[in-house]
Symmetry: C2
Subunit: 330 residues, 2 copies
């Protein structure tokens, strides 16, 4: 590898403490004469690629949100939830909720599933999707379709830039009929649980830039060749999963049928504060996880641990998520 | 983000199809007027950072080696092993063995555990450590200590460059006494199992460049402050794990007490073709995995799925590896 190439790699990973304008020889010299200096410590970029049949899938991380564990599961004692998390080597004081957006390269352009949190204030732990897309070489202008699972802010706020223009300038936005009808009718706000009402405020800002480019489809319709909606109501009134296939290869994007699979897939009777209709959400997740586990269909989930791609296996009265092996070879 | 910075990020990830000498505006224009063009599809660089107490740990991937599953586990029928792998959503025809090197930044310099496969022919799926170190901003010249767990080629061949010079020009190499005495005595070759004899050929090439910089320590000695050897004999005569701590934070680098934890930790009675003394190896892995599971000590393993950092939990008559959550925040 040439020195120039190596420096570009370093710059690409954001690891250069020295300014980019410093001469190459100087930066090399600094590195070689200061063996004890601590390295700059950025994380690897948050993307991961794999093949689904002939399709290339890229999982793009949008960062995470941290909240108290207390109050997250609404129908079980905190100590019980903490016990499950402790058994699985997770923190028991707070819960980290990651966000990962699934991008698929098709012959007609790039399709993504949900849109991230958008631009957040400096210092926020989420809102990293655009930077991680750049690291992955995915230009937002090449996204031809944004498929929306549901209208919670962390899934739709990334549709619009802060100035109200499209984050995906050449994209159509696809959403299932039941979900769109519910959230686009402001009169539903007063009929919603208190914790769900704030979500109505995001709708116009997110969708208005795509006027004329919004495509509302049936709750179980084919969205594009090889991509089919699968009604998964409960988390929101029209929450939708999507089945993606290429030849015999298939996977489900399950969106938020659970939040993190640990503890929520292992204990599908745990109800969480973000579910609009907890009873319907529980029935949906039991039904859909049973399907993907029985048929051994791969899946991705929006709040699954990055890179958020793997399989569900039945375990006890629930399901355990098996993250797929990370591979250096796509 | 400026356009220049963005292009550097793209270049760093190796995603630019256009030559680097093309003007920036041209590359931008190409991206924006060709929405349907498939993206170049490189993988994210193979490194991952996290904190162990006040220490920064970087896991650096060296790629993988693929071999037939048949013949890997020597004391169980192939169909039984295939069943376990199928249950855990792994391929049943071939086995992918990943390599990941643990780097720890200390006040005295960087310590790494084992040295990767070294430079391999173009097209090889392993030998990626130096490139991934560059992506992580780790200059080999800043490595002050290379700690060797055992003398199999995939752990030591990366010590030397093809021209016979040091891959880590400023490093000392540390190895436990029993392991060093065995492999540095060529007369042991004829006393070794057939499958182990070829490893003797690597010893001189790997270690000779470090003449005067080789430190042989006791089998359970303190290697450096906070790093202690833990005899784990069996996989090789002097195979060694290492306990790493900073304050209350601790982890074990278990090296090859098993190869991949699935199926070998779940079934610690599975014996594999690479173990020098399979009976001793089995006793060692049962003892050490029991210790880390009981004490909830974090661990890294050389052949664990990347990023190869997590915990062991007891399950059935063995142990299940729980990969730690990937986090964008170190």
């Amino acid at each position: 590898m040439s020195i120039e190439r190596r420096v570009l790699l370093l710059a690409g990973a954001g690891t250069l403490a020295a300014p980019l304008s410093a001469p190459v020889f100087l930066r090399q010299a600094q590195a070689q004469t200061a063996p004890a200096a601590p390295a700059a410590t950025p994380q690897a970029p948050g993307f991961y690629r794999y093949k689904l049949g002939g399709l290339t899938v890229t999982m793009v991380h949008d960062g995470f949100f941290q909240r108290p564990l207390d109050g997250f599961v609404t129908n079980k004692p905190l100590a019980e939830v903490q016990g499950v998390l402790r058994d699985n080597f997770m923190p028991t004081d707070s819960l980290r909720i990651p966000f990962t957006v699934t991008f698929i390269e098709t012959a007609r352009g790039i399709v993504c599933f949900d849109a991230g949190n958008g631009v957040l204030p400096a210092g926020a732990t989420a809102g990293k999707m655009i930077a991680n897309m750049a690291a992955a070489g995915i230009d937002p202008a090449r996204v031809s379709t944004v498929v929306i699972s549901h209208c919670h802010g962390d899934h739709i706020n990334g549709l619009a830039r802060p100035d109200g223009t499209r984050a995906f300038p050449n994209a159509e936005v696809v959403i299932a009929e039941t979900e769109w009808k519910f959230w686009s009718d402001a009169s539903n706000e007063s009929r919603s649980p208190q914790g769900q009402r704030a979500y109505f405020r995001n709708i116009d800002k997110a969708f208005n830039p795509y006027r004329g480019q919004l495509r509302v489809v049936g709750d179980n319709a084919e969205v594009l060749p090889g991509i089919r909606a699968a009604a998964a109501h409960g988390h929101t009134p029209g929450h939708t999963a999507f089945h993606i296939s290429d030849g015999n290869a298939q996977m489900m994007y399950v969106a938020d049928i659970t939040n993190r699979p640990m503890p929520l897939a292992l204990h599908p009777d745990y109800r969480i504060i973000f579910d609009f209709d907890p009873e319907a959400a529980e029935a949906t997740r039991k039904r859909m996880y049973d399907r993907v586990a029985t048929d051994r269909v791969a899946l991705t989930g929006y709040h699954f641990p990055f890179p958020a791609f793997g399989h569900m296996a039945k375990e006890g009265s629930g399901f355990r998520f098996h993250l797929a092996d990370w591979s250096s070879q796509i």
